[in-house]
Point group: D2
Chain length 333, copies 4
């Protein structure tokens, strides 16, 4: 399914070179002020064409609020938000029908959907759909009150400094990856469930819906596998749940523990590298050299932090509603 959440439920749709991409949000509390402007900052952070290493394709990304909003306030009915696709050049993508682009879903999508998929620009599999995720995140963040979700790019191409990392990509004329870290402050104790709906389970589920994610780790993460128990355990120091260290990343037994929620996400290098690659020509059945055309990011990781924030906010808004820490109707109108 293309939906997520139990109360605050998000469903995304659309294709890269179709008419629109968009998002439907069901279960959003009534009384939340939302207008087109509310989305500007986060959409701008996601948008390409702003910084070195991002694609020159630049959509206007104006959110069209089609339902669920009245007098610039959520009504409690489903929200639908559309983004029109205007700046598309489908001819760039025709070749890929025969030669699937390495690292992309072209081949598997063709197999799964029996050849009926919209292949233009990756179709429904496109990173363009992260616009929908960001929009959902904007609404979710409005619900979080004083809780702050902040994702930052910690590493590009192995460099702690993103400018240096990007220079590496430009000089090599090859795409690169990165590491995004997300920190959430102000969460109450006890969100999540012991097993299948642990906070890590839900966050990881949402994070892996972002294209190009290859891994996630909470707190000390993979490093924990090499620590001793006495070293890794976080010692409780206060009745508000504060621990002396935060190796757990703010989650114990699947539940938030009152400390900062902390996780890191590995982003692979953009699949569409300027370098020549090999792929199978599905018409001839033979491998051949191949260079991806179209406008692409050298480092998609640059655009991911706001998407990480968005899906994290979605998960947390849902859990806060489940735990009744957010009201179904916003009283302060």
């Amino acid at each position: 399914m293309n939906s997520f959440g139990r109360i605050f439920r998000v469903q995304i749709f659309g294709e890269s070179h179709g008419e629109v991409v968009g998002v439907l949000i069901d279960g959003c509390p009534a009384g939340i002020p939302i207008s087109s402007e509310t989305f500007q900052e986060d959409l701008a952070r996601r948008k390409g064409g702003m910084q070195k290493g991002t694609t020159p394709r630049s959509e206007e990304d104006i959110p069209l609020l089609k339902s669920g909003i009245f007098n610039a306030t959520t009504t409690g009915a489903p929200l639908i938000i559309l983004f029109e696709n205007k700046n598309t050049r489908s001819s760039d993508y025709e070749k890929m029908i025969e030669i699937p682009r390495p690292g992309h879903a072209d081949f598997v999508a063709h197999q799964k959907f029996g050849g009926h998929e919209d292949y233009r620009g990756g179709g429904h599999f496109s990173g363009r759909l992260t616009t929908s995720l960001v929009a959902a995140g904007v609404v979710a963040k409005k619900l979080l009150g004083s809780i702050e979700v902040t994702a930052t790019l910690k590493e590009v191409a192995g460099e702690p400094d993103s400018a240096t990392g990007i220079e590496k990509a430009i000089s090599k004329q090859d795409s690169v990856g990165g590491i995004v870290e997300c920190v959430v402050k102000g969460l109450p104790i006890g969100l999540g469930e012991p097993f299948f709906d642990s906070v890590e389970s839900l966050i990881a589920h949402a994070i892996f819906s972002i294209p190009a994610v290859r891994g996630i780790e909470f707190g000390s993460g993979f490093a924990a596998a090499r620590m001793f128990g006495s070293e890794h355990n976080d010692s409780l120091v206060s009745m508000d749940g504060t621990t002396a260290t935060n190796h757990a990343g703010g989650v114990v037994g699947g539940l938030t523990n009152g400390n900062e929620l902390l996780f890191r996400v590995a982003i692979k290098p953009t699949s569409s590298t300027p370098q020549e690659q090999k792929s199978l020509n599905t018409a001839t059945g033979k491998q051949e050299a191949f260079t991806v055309k179209g406008r692409h990011d050298l480092c998609i990781a640059l655009r991911v932090p706001v998407v990480v924030e968005a899906v994290t906010a979605m998960v947390l808004a849902d859990l806060l509603l489940l735990e009744q820490k957010i009201l179904r109707v916003n009283p302060s109108r």
Copy 2:
């Protein structure tokens, strides 16, 4: 919720020192041969008391098949499988009511459930519940046919050899963690969905329901963040989906791509270390020294591979049913 899956739906329940732990499976196809013996091998792999570094608490772990099975075959109705808790010593755990054990859910569970939680031995949060997961996995594996799910322990306490890692733990008298790798062979192309129900999303969701998991990475994982695109991309070599390399770990665009599904899981050191630790005495509001009693594993990672296989099999059985690659009624009875 404590349930997972859309068609093959698994729900676990029980407490460490209550009467039972168990699992309910809904949506299992009819006609699958299942008997108490079917579970023996995997339950034995999960069980403690067998190898150095695991707890001397040894439950018999006899699965009681209470419903959904008739003439040693699944009927299509919900299965319920119980495991009685016989070998419990609750008195070991009384202290933790006042002094929450570091790394455990004692404190957060108390906060979340308003003091109503069953605190004995971690109650519903106990690793004992992984017996339920393993049982669900045994049933799921029966559905997978020639698909093979194999998880192995790749590293203990930073050592590639688990015996060496355990010796480290024993000599330090401290608990240690490890890395589990899981490989799935024989999957068809096209399982999963592009975004929220990507294969990585679902696997990660299920994996993080296993206690002590701190991270997951697919294919080249976190290392991908430091690779160039031309290096990371897997080149398609055959119409069956085979790629020259498998940096993607068998998933592209959220969908299985016909190669081996491959992921690694980081397991933290057992929270119950023999070392003295500090925690808060919730009665006095002051930190005090604390040594965990009870029978515990020095390295819980030793017991995790079969649990990783189990939840992976659950996810795959569900996806195969959704994609109609497994029949709702097993024809070969």
Copy 3:
């Protein structure tokens, strides 16, 4: 939630006097031919302004297929279908902010959503949303192959002849109700589940999502309560499931039994009657006389049959996918 279905999942949205109403369909198999024309017949059946007793408000009802369709065929990605609201006159509805219309959701919506609801023309509660249901039904019907879903109006204002019933309404200048019967031919045996997802449960769930429905009965229905068992039981006559009678309405033990699925639905008289009524003036707290303005149907039941077909087709498409009687990818492209 405003969504329904497990595989073929339908979500409706929009407001009577907002920009659009519409529907999102997730889980629709790939390879189904769909174009704007596909919807015409059923949308025309639902539309007002065509026959005596229906509202003179006439929307063009052109389905805008915004995603999930490529080359006039479903792709397997989510479908979004919009209908623009053009022919609205919101000023008619202003009075109802203070005086809730009897039989309408005005008062309860205001209470539930804390005054944030879009009150114009009933907002999200409007019968206009049945356009979305009909659109979903059109797609669902395309999946049903040779299975035929036919709903007909059996009674208007107590008259077996609808023209006579409408004349009664016109002469009394009062709104009237009716009875809709639905018959489904060609269903396989075994759709549905024994308890919570019985065919009756799912059909009834969907049917009661249609505004103005007051009751549903399967087979002999309420009359069964006065029959003897020997009279009511349907005797099996053939291995294809055919029974001598069909008092069960085609469902036994929650499952389709191979006979015609048969149920009847009671539709209340349109709440917006031309007659003067009383309601509470919420500003003064006193009852006062009240006449509903706006353009309304004297007998909404005239427009309900195609909506009954639509939600029935949705339920059946979902069950057929679950039972693997419909393929996830349509092979005949």
Copy 4:
């Protein structure tokens, strides 16, 4: 699926002549006092062998509370409640393998599950499973506080007096049906959703999971189809939502409106009548005379009211949790 509910989630399992029937409840708030005695009254109301017209099979129906309860209080973890089947005589049912009982699921279950179904006493399709529903209802009722759910038998065999109706059945030696009416007092305004999760949708969904139900109507129900709008509309008289009449049965626009929730349910005559019937001998392919053996109720409707209350309470508990009218943790411990 055999589960129902979004937060308060109920799953039933078991077979008539297997080891147990039972129920799993997930999402039950912590801190609710529950013991074996809590169930006695409602289980006794459901039990046969108490009154004329009910089966002499009498199970002890002792609820075994296996998980989720500690110190006689719910913990917030999943509850599992088992009922052992002791008083079974499977030999009575062997004949039905070849000759499906009219009105029962024998034939369709065999088709659906490929012959793997537990056919003894109807297996998973048995009315015995309503014990599980009643148990879930007992827990749900504990959550409802001052809200009262009361179902009563209004008609047996067409007689307003149940004793007279039963006499009719006994004198005719044939099974009979009845009408159950359910009234809920004390509901807040605004439970439910406008369309797919309307209160009527959810109640009807749950009610049709009860075996033998043939119809449901809310408020004036089928009679509404013959009323004029001016007659049917309920006029609002007070800001607490009270209306002068209650033809709507307490639901408008899918939402509770502050008046009594009122609906009626049609129960068919027990399928197992003492009368000789005809059915198909599936071995010979010919119809033959057939008399059902085993111990059965002449009027199953006698036992249905408490089951109607149970599933109604389940739906309402879930809606009250969704609307945050019930706390996730009971503060009054």
